[in-house]
């Protein structure tokens, strides 16, 4: 999949990811304000959200539960934890500090498996609050410096976040993409977040360094503003090449934060380590330690759904496809694996069942309207060559439009009864007679000429003849 060659001269890429996800709670992390994307700016606010003098935070229990679901799904240890203040000035940070977890996070020491049994360690998954959203007007950079004015929407301020920090176990940009995709499907599966990168409810910061195997890791750069899975790969490919080129031309890597520009495909310095804020972390005195009851943890664990990896494996075994392949991935992500199971239980051809659902059910959600037995019937018609694959596609569209129905009747209605082989052979003979030049070329090994002959048969059969059957007949006549 990787569209960029491995790094030259034996350089090894080292990547760690910090992924922020907004939790799907009704209210904010520390107040009763609504947590809802897309509302009119500055409508989901209250004294706590705005950091008004005297306002105090109160922990949202549902946010804790969703964070525990994430931790448990990532095989983390869920532990007693504390909250700290991370102090810095910025207009969209209302209190001038972010409440976050520092040396005692809720979830620690987990892992996530990628295709090919690649294990990526999870260092921690901690709770924190989101900032407001700034929009800068005027100027060219879209950033605050040089802008004419800025507007702030505090609807996002105080939205509960979980930051999932991987260990630097990722070795290729492809693995990084797989990691983000897999994490996303886990988050969706456990209902912790809608994980929409385009809406910012899932955001990635990428730490990239390069080194030669056997030597210590190189200095890392943190890349921000990476807003799609594709950008994760592109940013890593660009940044790792930049680092290698810089080192090989005699330069050194500075520890810094860099900004990914999706339009230019480059990263640029945002701030260097010297410019970095001293966050002056200290224990948040307005909150008490969070000590999740072990019984609560076990209840959350017991209520976790079967996770995507296990579902893909089960589905792949059922359908006889690759567990890391596209069809298992897509069908499980849409939550249609149970449906595929039902189609197969209703007698459907396993392979065709998953492929049909993958290809035609993108808009159907987890519970498609088409009854499983109807889809099963269609897969059998195709398997038994009662209809051609082209006809099957048309019938599938009909089936979805009608929300199910008697497939045999649909075949009749479309006039899709396949012609028997004798009838097709007569048409093939007629086509050879009608296109002697093409037949001669075909016999001389020019496969291009096949198209004209098949086309002629299709035309005379009004599309009812099976292309595979026509080709097989021509083949046998050529060889005879």
């Amino acid at each position: 999949m990787s569209d960029v060659a491995a790094l030259p001269n034996g350089w090894q890429l080292i990547v760690g990811l910090e992924v922020h996800v907004e939790l799907a709670t009704k209210t904010k992390m520390f107040s009763a304000s609504a947590n809802r994307f897309g509302d009119e700016p500055n409508t989901n606010i209250d004294p706590v959200t705005l950091g008004l003098p005297g306002a105090l935070p109160v922990l949202n229990q549902h946010a804790i539960e969703l964070a525990m679901r994430i931790g448990l799904a990532l095989n983390c240890k869920v532990q007693p934890c504390t909250f700290h203040r991370k102090n810095y000035f910025y207009p969209d940070l209302p209190k001038a500090y972010q409440i976050t977890q520092y040396d005692n996070p809720l979830n620690v020491d987990g892992h996530l498996m990628l295709p090919g049994e690649v294990r990526i360690g999870i260092e921690r998954a901690h709770l924190e609050e989101d900032t407001g959203k700034s929009t800068h007007f005027g100027g060219s950079s879209g950033r605050i410096h040089g802008s004419d004015y800025s507007l702030i929407d505090f609807n996002r301020a105080g939205v509960p976040l979980v930051e999932i920090v991987s260990r630097p176990d990722i070795r290729t940009s492809e693995q990084a993409r797989q990691y983000v995709a897999e994490l996303r499907s886990i988050l969706l599966a456990v209902g912790a977040s809608d994980a929409k990168m385009e809406e910012g409810s899932m955001r990635c910061d990428v730490n990239v360094s390069v080194h030669k195997p056997g030597t210590p890791f190189g200095t890392r750069c943190e890349i921000k503003n990476v807003n799609s899975i594709r950008s994760v790969g592109r940013a890593i490919d660009y940044e790792s090449r930049r680092q290698v080129d810089l080192i090989e031309s005699g330069g050194t890597i500075r520890q810094e934060t860099r900004h990914w520009d999706d339009s230019t495909g480059r990263t640029e310095t945002l701030r260097t380590k010297e410019d970095a804020d001293d966050y002056r972390y200290f224990l948040e005195p307005d909150l008490v330690p969070l000590i999740p009851d072990p019984e609560w943890i076990e209840a959350v664990r017991a209520a976790l759904p079967v996770l995507p990896a296990a579902r893909r494996l089960a589905l792949a075994e059922l359908c006889g496809v690759d567990k890391d392949g596209e069809s298992a991935l897509v069908v499980v992500e849409r939550g249609q694996d149970d449906y595929v199971g039902a189609v197969i239980s209703a007698g459907g051809d396993p392979r065709r069942s998953i492929i049909y659902v993958q290809q035609a059910f993108a808009e159907q959600g987890a519970t498609p309207k088409v009854p499983a037995k109807d889809l099963a019937a269609l897969t059998i018609l195709e398997r038994d060559s009662k209809v051609t694959s082209t006809q099957a596609k048309t019938l599938l569209t009909d089936l979805i439009e009608a929300g199910g129905g008697d497939v045999v009747a649909m075949v009749a209605k479309r006039g899709f009864e396949t012609l028997d082989t004798n009838a097709v052979e007569a048409m093939v003979d007629a086509a050879i007679a009608a296109e002697p030049g093409a037949w001669q070329k075909y016999c001389n090994g020019e496969d291009k000429a096949l198209g004209a002959l098949v086309g002629a048969v299709m035309k005379s059969s009004k599309g009812k003849a099976d292309g595979k059957v026509i080709t097989a007949l021509l083949q046998s006549k050529k060889n005879s």
């Binding site: 005297g54 105090l56 008490v288």
Partner: protein, 471 residues
Amino acid sequence: MQKLVEIASGVGDGSLSASAVVEQHLARIDARESEIHAFNLVTADQARLDAAKVDADVKAGKKVGALAGVPIALKDNMCTRGVETTCSSKILQGWKPPYDATVVTKLRAAGAVIVGKTNLDEFAMGSSTENSAFGPTKNPHDISRVPGGSSGGSAAAVAAGFAAASLGSDTGGSIRQPAALCGVVGVKPTYGVVSRYGLVAFASSLDQIGPFTSDVRDAATLLEVISGHDPLDSTSIPQPAPSLVSVLEHGVAGMRIGRVTDLPDGCEPDVLERLESAFDALRSAGATIVDIKLPSIQYCLTAYYLIAPAEASSNLARYDGVRYGNRVDAADLNSMYAATREAGFGEEVKRRIMLGTYALSAGYYDAYYGKALKVRRLISDDFARAYQSVDTILTPTSPSVAFEFGSKTDNPLAMYLCDVFTIPTNLAGHPAMSVPFGTGAHSMPVGVQVLAPTLGEQAMFKVAAELERAS
């Protein structure tokens, strides 16, 4: 001066008019406020409306609360919906909160009549109200002397009869020290007994709201009203308000009272003499005086002046001119921040923000803030040991009687020493209160401080009531 409990019972049974009571207090304000300056804002019109409402409720036979018609003043760091709340700082001048602090909601529900917002050292940082951006409050006993601080306005308001009671906040002694200097009762409850929701934070882990009253019974009555669990404050103790009035007549027979033998130096002889008289009085009433040691007490002042400024540096960072309060416009964001905060904060606030920022900075955290937290644990351990052998502890509230204006303003350390006896309580989260116990030098009031362990308010009030009977 009318007691809170007399007003409340009189108004409640219809024998007293809340409106008349409010007018008496407003008249006293008219007469003396210009020289005392206890208030940043007197809400006379609203107070008259509220009092009339109470009277109407009584007339209509509706049930009225425990503070019906009681005129109460609020330190101007407690949020009042739609009413300017300034913390005596230019940076918040003109700011009207969109919500009431939990204590304000409780006072209103109990029928209290809020007469105004009282002056304080800016953001409650100080011991004399000289750090107010709006000018100092004078001690009603001698206007050449400070009322103490930071809740100096609230203490003076009660001492001058401007209000039957007031609320203050105490981070390192800001209720007890001014209570002592103004000759009134001042209580800092156990941390978490009174909700901090709506109290503008100075140092969140130390701040606690409490009452000023002219006697111990009033203090117990008011504290019962404002305490209790508040789901809006995560540090609020999840249990009901303690019963305090019921214990006031219990006496102290059989109680063990601690005398700290390693108290820090620097206490004036007149104050120590009153403390000894207090021990004598308690002994006469049947208590046993037990010598105890608090070895870590000598480190408390230093630890406090790292912890409180550290939290303050974070709590006060929100005053950045972006969303509310005053803004000084400038060419870019950082210049706007700097200009706003330069113009908006006074000298002492800036000093503490600098101190606290430094104490939390990378490379200094362990040596300063981290070490201060260790002292905090040590003094808590000292107290825990002491309370194995005593029920309460008695110390001076303030090392001296009220001092003259300007006598400590050039020397921040001398000012900080005003809180040397009150700070350990805040570090431990314990309750303590100051009770007037005669006068000292210049015939100025002297207070003695009763300390108790966490949620030891009942024992504390028993001793306070006994001291009041003896004084």
